[in-house]
């Protein structure tokens, strides 16, 4: 049964609500896990909520111009939009979102929408650290996109489609049909790219928590920062869902989605806690080296 | 055919003309003095003129003048060919003009303060 347009919008809000809360809790729990690893007590799991509420409640907002205000709008719209173009739960009408707008390619490119807008907004802030952070981030992005693109191509070749729903559908029927089982190399390449995408160690030089305050968002505060924090949750969620759909068989219900995405995200934390940080040029070379070869191998496997 | 027969076949005028041409050519290419080059050209032209004459000369015939030796009716059978002789006249005149001009060039070049060797006039090159 095809829902009405109004119904679809309502479902979209439900879906968005779920992913936002899930994303926030995920960030909070991962931060707590990291703290445990480092021998600290760590923040409460709901700390992200507190942060957002606090930021949004600030009585003053400092602005540097129109684009500065629009930056977080772009960023949040980019996060939500990305999520909206992905079907979150296979076969669910509620979590189908607006995935009929376009296929995998649309999602891959819409990811840039928020990043670009955010970078522009930060740029108008006039802070050199913002620009440096953007410079590093973009440079790294071009590199990790290569293994990612290769593994996506491998997936597209393997399933003969770029339609995310169809890709998930092809993986139904048990673990043996997941991409993880049928083309593990593609998954390896994509996961390595994912490390870069999430900006955890060893690819965290973009926001460089020690030397530079916080990279691109340096100048942001108040409600604007709140929006960025919200986006972080949604955007992470969207990317995780995408990975889950492409490589881990998707999810037929919320619980499966939560478990799978949690595990995917955990890879980040795991690696991030174990490795020191690359310089930008090192990470570029890294991504264009072994991960790219793995990606090429995965395409070859898919073709054969 | 022995050597004598070969020699006998050679037109002596043409042969001496050819020798003069080669001598002249050698002079043009080997003597750096401007005036000597002009002289060498004269030698070469003389040689060329001899060659021309040799073509018109036919052994045993008379000079191409209508007199007792040949009348109008038998002229073409008894006279040598007059055309090359006429040509030589022109060529001599032209050769004279060239020699004169060359000498005047040489004089002007020297008068302008240059040397008399052609090697000192190689400023335009490459």
């Amino acid at each position: 049964m095809e829902p009405t347009l109004l119904g679809r919008i309502g479902y979209a809000f439900v879906s968005l609500f779920v992913i936002t809360n899930y994303g926030l809790l995920l960030i909070g729990s991962m931060a707590r896990i990291s703290a445990k690893v480092q021998g600290r007590v760590g923040q409460p799991v709901w700390q992200p909520y507190i942060d957002i509420i606090k930021s949004s409640a600030k009585r003053n907002a400092i602005g540097h111009g129109v684009m500065f205000y629009l930056g977080p709008v772009f960023r949040l719209a980019g996060g939500i939009g990305t999520y909206m173009f992905i079907p979150a739960v296979f076969g669910s009408v509620v979590f189908r979102n607006f995935s009929d707008s376009g296929d995998l390619l649309l999602v891959m490119y819409f990811i840039f929408f928020g990043q670009l807008g955010m970078a522009l907004g930060a740029g108008e802030g006039g802070h050199p650290y913002s620009a440096i952070g953007v410079s590093r981030g973009l440079a790294q992005m071009t590199a990790f996109e290569v293994p990612f693109a290769l593994s996506v191509i491998a997936v597209a070749v393997q399933y003969g489609t770029l339609d995310i729903n169809a890709i998930v559908a092809a993986q139904q029927g048990g673990f043996a049909r997941w991409t993880l089982a049928t083309n593990p190399l593609a998954v390896v390449a994509a996961i390595i790219a994912f490390l870069g995408m999430s900006g955890h160690n060893p690819f965290s030089v973009v926001i460089a928590p020690q030397e530079i305050p916080i990279g691109p968002p340096t100048e942001y505060q108040s409600n604007l920062l709140g929006m960025l924090q919200t986006n972080r949750a949604i955007f992470n969620g969207a990317k995780l869902v995408l990975y889950m759909n492409l490589f881990f068989g998707g999810a037929t219900n919320i619980v499966a989605m939560v478990i799978k995405t949690f595990l995917i995200y955990f890879v980040n934390v795991f690696v991030g806690q174990a490795f020191p940080r690359f310089r930008t040029d090192q990470s570029i070379r890294f991504f264009l080296g072994v991960p790219t070869l793995i990606g090429i191998a995965s395409v070859i496997i898919a073709v054969i | 055919m022995n050597a004598l027969e070969v020699l006998a076949k050679i037109n002596p005028v043409a042969a001496s003309g050819a020798v003069l041409v080669l001598v002249g050519l050698w002079g043009v290419m080997a003597k750096p003095n401007l005036f000597k080059i002009a002289v060498a050209f004269s030698v070469m032209e003389t040689g060329v003129n001899l060659v021309i004459l040799s073509v018109g000369y036919i052994r045993g015939r008379t000079a191409p003048i209508l007199d007792s030796a040949a009348d109008a009716a038998s002229a073409s059978a008894r006279m040598t060919d007059p055309v090359p002789q006429a040509l030589v006249l022109t060529a001599i005149v032209i050769g004279l003009a060239v020699t004169a001009l060359m000498l005047s060039y040489a004089v002007r070049l020297k008068a302008g303060g240059g040397g008399s060797s052609i090697e000192s006039y190689g400023e335009e090159k490459w």
């Binding site: 602005g63 006039g126 | 070049l109 090159k125």
Partner: protein, 1059 residues
């Protein structure tokens, strides 16, 4: 017909009377000289009229009341009449230009001038071999006199060498004549040719002597140092006569004796001519001295003409009409252009030889506009650009040679032509732009510092003769073109527009802008019926783009002299590329476009080097294209498809187009040309003109793509070329500090995607290609227009010197923002459609690695795009730019229009894709189709409208959220930023802009080390070295030259024996 004997009598009388008449004053005697030369010209004209229009046949005049063999015969036929006209024409122009030196020198100069021209006319007229010798000697002796008539030292030195060579030649000739007489029994040419005696062993040798003498007189390589020295040192007027008139006479003499020649002789003529053409041009490339350079070019051209005449007889290229057209056209082109250029070099004071090496006027100032036009016409004609005779002759020649499959000859001729184009245009650029360029260096080393620099060199009366030569070139070129049935008015429209706009060049810019737009509109209206769907799409980009940039050109006030005529001509030439129906018509339009755009590039401020490499590569590409076109019978005829026989020539066409499109490897011309031309011209080149190459590639691939040898592999290679272009264009772009360089490299990259998409060669790929092309037109226009405004307002092209301009130029920012979103392919703007189409069609085709590389390339594009917008519009504003205003309306209006269009085609992709798919659907089976607003491929789908709605809705929600929660917003001052408790020092040090991607350079910089530039520089050095080696034979020693002559003759003889 007038008996020419009267003219000889008149000339001799005039020459001998001159010393007497001179007593009445030099004015009177010069008038007598001009009148005598003009009389020859008038009679020649009457001959031509009688022969061509009154229907009189060629006529022979006997002398002294007899006919041959008793008398010397003078023949007046079409060749002779034309030759006489050429000699008197050149003579008159040269004599006019030499007015002052003739007036100052002794009267002997004027006398020798008359007798020299008379001697040359005699060479043309006579049919008697010995009389030919006499006239040769009259001409030579007079020329020796003329060379040194004003007693300049250099000319005396050169004249002596000239005499040595001439003397040897005349001795050879005499020996030849007498033996021809000996073996044939005749001195009359026609009778000798009919005599059987000449075609035996000995007769051949007699003819050989004759031929060798004439060839030596024609200045073959390497026996031509004496002539080049004379060209360099004599008065330019004399050089013009030597190069134009004397060469005409001698070529006609050669033409005359051709009936006597056997095949071996002809082969020797052709070989010697071609060798001279190649060697002369190579040696010319090394020349710093203008006159000597023109001298090398002269001997080269004459060699080519002689070779063409011989080749026709050897290979049967097309008979008499062919020889008239090609050899005659080349000769006419040569003599007019060379006369004009020699005289021009005198008028602009490029005369260092006469001044003992002192710096001439050139090298210090630029030419006045009129002088520049004249120089441009002459140089363009010499190089063989349309619409001048050389262009038509070259096309006909190459076509005929292709018909005989003489590919090596074609390669040799075109290669040497390219070298010639290089040095002639280098000189043109130097004199037009006026600075001590590379040319001046070789000769003089230094220009005295501190010397006052005149802004413009005005030629005054000195321009008259060159201008007349230029006018004659234009007229004869148009007539020849008409004769070759290139009579479509639309093809000539670019020249008409350029001429009209040049005529009103002083008018205000807005008027000329409006006229240009009207011209483009009128062209579109007139051509509309001939444009099919594909051509209509391209007409939007080409004509519409041209009109738009003409409009934008109003953004700077004033007349903007020279810009509008060139822009309009280039626009209309692009239009005529679309409407051309024959290969020649197309190539004509193509070269017209090359010429106009070259001049457009040249107009830029620092564009010398850029313009030169632009035209050299442009011509190189065009030559490849030309050979491809002539090698495929029926190419470009309307509706030709997949004809058999089109094999490897298609590769030539593709290679030519790849050069034109700036594909990686042949891209080195691109950044400079796009960056250094005027700002709106850059945009025009990038967004409109580059599409002409795309258009031709579409047409060529549509017609011949299926019959390419190794079709699949070839297409794959083409795809990789496109891909490499895309990737490296982007990689180079990210390191540029210069904003226009960034855009230039970016353009290269974007065209690379188009090439890649065309190589996919199915419906999806071609839809992608056309969609990308149209999109590139849209967003690159917006970028270039916005950037033009920025550069105008801030006065620099270095991005790091800008910053924070968003507050001063918000509209431009918005334009750039939309453009970079579209260019980078971020949804929801139309650029994403291009990416989606590209990846879909690549994956569908099975080109997976290509898709990954393309993905990488487009990710790299983000880098330079962000840098572009950030360092210009964001970051820290500079105090010095506090008063900057928004760009002028002339720029913002087109941008606004483009924004609307971009938004419309983004929200409704069918607006653009429906026409494209209709066009592409004619050639391919469908792969993509629309379902409602969703575009569906076998792999996936994309709904542009829905994604636009979702994006807008989400954006609006976030915006409302932001507004709703924004408490007490305060805008703070520039330096009020979180800065580790410090205060930033200055905006310049706080603006992170210079070397923006240093880490990237460190990681991947090894990829972008300008290998292409180094490769071509090495090629250039190689050519240069060969030229340098060749010219070493010209030692300047007269005896060495004599040795050259002798060795040349010996070599020629041996070669003939071998043949």
């Amino acid at each position: 017909m007038v008996n020419p004997l009267y003219l000889f009598a008149a000339s001799l009388a005039a020459a001998f009377l001159l010393p007497l008449v001179d007593k009445l004053g030099r004015r009177v005697s010069l008038a007598l000289v001009y009148a005598t030369i003009a009389a020859w010209g008038a009679v020649a004209l009457s001959y031509l009229w009688a022969l061509l229009y009154a229907g009189v046949g060629a006529r022979a005049f006997g002398t002294a009341g007899f006919v041959a063999p008793l008398a010397i015969m003078l023949r007046v036929g079409p060749e002779e009449a034309a030759g006489l006209l050429a000699i008197s024409g050149v003579g008159l122009l040269a004599a006019g230009a030499m007015r002052r030196p003739l007036a100052e020198a002794p009267i002997g100069g004027a006398m020798t001038l008359i007798t020299a021209l008379m001697g040359m006319s005699g060479i043309v007229l006579t049919r008697d071999l010995f009389n030919l010798f006499v006239f040769l000697e009259i001409a030579s002796i007079s020329t020796y006199g003329l060379i040194a008539f004003d007693d300049r030292r250099g000319a005396l030195r050169a004249g002596f060498k000239y005499m040595i060579a001439g003397g040897i030649a005349s001795a050879l000739y005499l020996i030849g004549v007498i033996y021809v007489y000996r073996f044939s029994g005749h001195l009359n040419l026609d009778m000798a040719a009919a005599a059987p005696g000449l075609f035996g062993g000995a007769g051949t040798i007699a003819v050989f002597f004759l031929l060798a003498a004439l060839l030596v007189e024609l200045k073959p390589f390497p026996a031509n140092g004496w002539a080049i020295d004379a060209y360099q040192t004599a008065d330019p007027g004399v050089s013009a006569i030597l190069s134009g008139a004397s060469a005409t006479a001698l070529l006609l003499a050669l033409w005359k004796v051709m009936p006597l020649l056997g095949e071996a002789h002809l082969a020797a003529v052709a070989g010697s001519g071609l060798a001279t053409f190649a060697a002369g041009n190579l040696a010319g490339a090394r020349q710093g001295r203008a006159r000597r350079m023109l001298g090398y070019s002269s001997v080269a051209q004459v060699g080519l003409v002689a070779a063409v005449a011989a080749l026709d007889r050897l290979l049967g290229l097309g008979g008499l009409r062919f020889t008239y057209l090609v050899a005659g056209g080349l000769l006419l082109n040569h003599l007019l252009a060379k006369t004009g250029l020699f005289l021009l070099s005198s008028a602009i004071g490029d005369d260092e030889a006469a001044r003992g090496g002192a710096a001439g006027k050139r090298g210090e100032g630029a030419l006045s506009p009129f002088g520049a036009v004249v120089a441009g016409v002459l140089a363009a004609a010499l190089v063989g650009l349309p619409p001048f005779p050389g262009f038509w002759a070259k096309w006909t020649l190459i076509q005929a040679l292709a018909g005989r499959e003489s590919w090596w000859l074609i390669a040799l001729i075109l290669g040497a032509s390219l070298v010639e184009a290089f040095y002639v245009l280098r000189w043109l650029i130097a004199i037009v732009k006026g600075e001590a360029g590379a040319l001046a260096k070789g000769e003089r080393g230094t220009i005295e510092p501190g010397a006052p620099i005149p802004a413009r060199i005005r030629l005054g009366a000195g321009a008259l003769a060159p201008a007349l030569a230029a006018a004659a070139l234009v007229v004869s070129g148009v007539m020849l073109g008409w004769n070759l049935s290139v009579s479509d008015p639309l093809l000539w429209a670019p020249f008409a527009a350029a001429a009209i706009l040049f005529a009103i060049d002083r008018a205000p810019g807005w008027l000329k802008s409006l006229l240009s737009i009207a011209a483009a509109a009128a062209f579109g209206w007139l051509a509309y019926d001939r444009l099919d769907g594909l051509r209509q799409l391209f007409a939007i980009m080409l004509l519409g783009g041209g009109a738009m940039y003409s409009f934008a050109a109003m953004y700077k006030g004033g007349a903007r002299r020279g810009l509008h005529p060139l822009l309009s001509a280039a626009t209309l030439a692009l239009g005529s590329v679309l409407v051309a129906e024959t290969p020649l018509g197309f190539f004509f339009a193509w070269e017209t476009m090359t010429l106009a755009s070259f001049l457009l590039v040249l107009r830029g401020r620092e564009s010398r080097a850029a313009a030169l490499s632009y035209i050299v590569f442009g011509l190189g590409g065009a030559f490849l294209l030309m050979v491809g076109l002539v090698a495929i019978p029926g190419a470009w005829s309307s509706g030709s498809t997949g004809s058999a026989g089109a094999g490897w020539p298609v590769f030539l066409i593709l290679a030519g187009l790849l050069v034109k499109l700036g594909a990686l490897g042949a891209h080195v011309w691109l950044p400079g040309a796009y960056a250094e031309s005027d700002d709106e011209a850059s945009g025009f080149l990038s967004s409109s003109l580059s599409k002409a190459g795309v258009f031709v590639m579409v047409v060529a691939l549509a017609a011949f793509g299926r019959v390419l040898p190794f079709q699949a592999t070839s297409m794959r290679i083409l795809g990789w070329i496109g891909l490499a272009t895309a990737l490296f264009g982007a990689l180079y772009a990210i390191y540029q500090e210069d904003i226009k360089k960034t855009l230039a490299w970016s353009s290269m990259g974007q065209i690379g995607y188009v090439i890649l998409a065309l190589a996919i060669y199915d419906q999806a790929g071609w839809t992608t290609a056309l969609y990308l092309a149209l999109n590139h037109f849209l967003y690159k226009s917006m970028l270039f227009l916005a950037i033009a405004g920025v550069i105008q307002r801030v006065g620099t092209r270095n991005m790091y010197e800008m910053g924070g301009l968003i507050k001063k130029m918000p509209f431009s920012f918005l334009s750039v923002l939309m453009a970079i979103i579209a260019l980078s392919g971020v949804p929801p703007l139309s650029g994403f459609g291009g990416k989606w189409l590209l990846y879909s069609s690549l994956l569908e085709k099975g080109w997976y690695i290509e898709a990954a590389v393309a993905f990488f390339a487009s990710a790299v594009a983000f880098l330079y795009l962000f840098r572009l917008i950030h360092t210009i519009f964001l970051g820290q504003p500079k105090p010095s730019q506090a008063m900057v205003r928004e760009a002028p309306l002339a720029l913002t209006i087109p941008q606004g229009l483009l924004m609307v269009v971009l938004f419309a085609v983004s929200a409704f992709p069918r607006l653009m894709l429906d026409p494209i798919m209709r066009v592409v659907g004619e050639a391919f089976d469908p792969v993509l189709r629309f379902e409602g607003s969703a575009l569906v491929s076998p792999l996936g789908y994309w709904d542009g409208t829905l994604s636009m709605i979702v994006t807008i809705a989400v954006f609006a929600l976030c915006f409302l959220w932001m507004i709703a929660n924004l408490h007490n917003p305060q805008t703070v001052k520039q330096f009020n930023i979180v800065y580790a408790a410090e205060r930033p020092f200055r905006p310049e040090t706080t603006h992170y802009a210079w070397n923006f991607y240093a880490p990237y350079e460190k990681a991947l910089g090894f990829l972008t080390r300008h290998r292409g530039e180094r490769f071509w520089a090495a090629v250039g050095t190689g050519v240069d070295a060969v030229g340098g080696a060749i010219r070493r034979v010209y030692t300047g020693n007269g005896q060495t030259y004599a040795l050259h002559v002798v060795l040349y003759v010996v070599a020629l003889y041996l070669l003939m024996g071998a043949l």
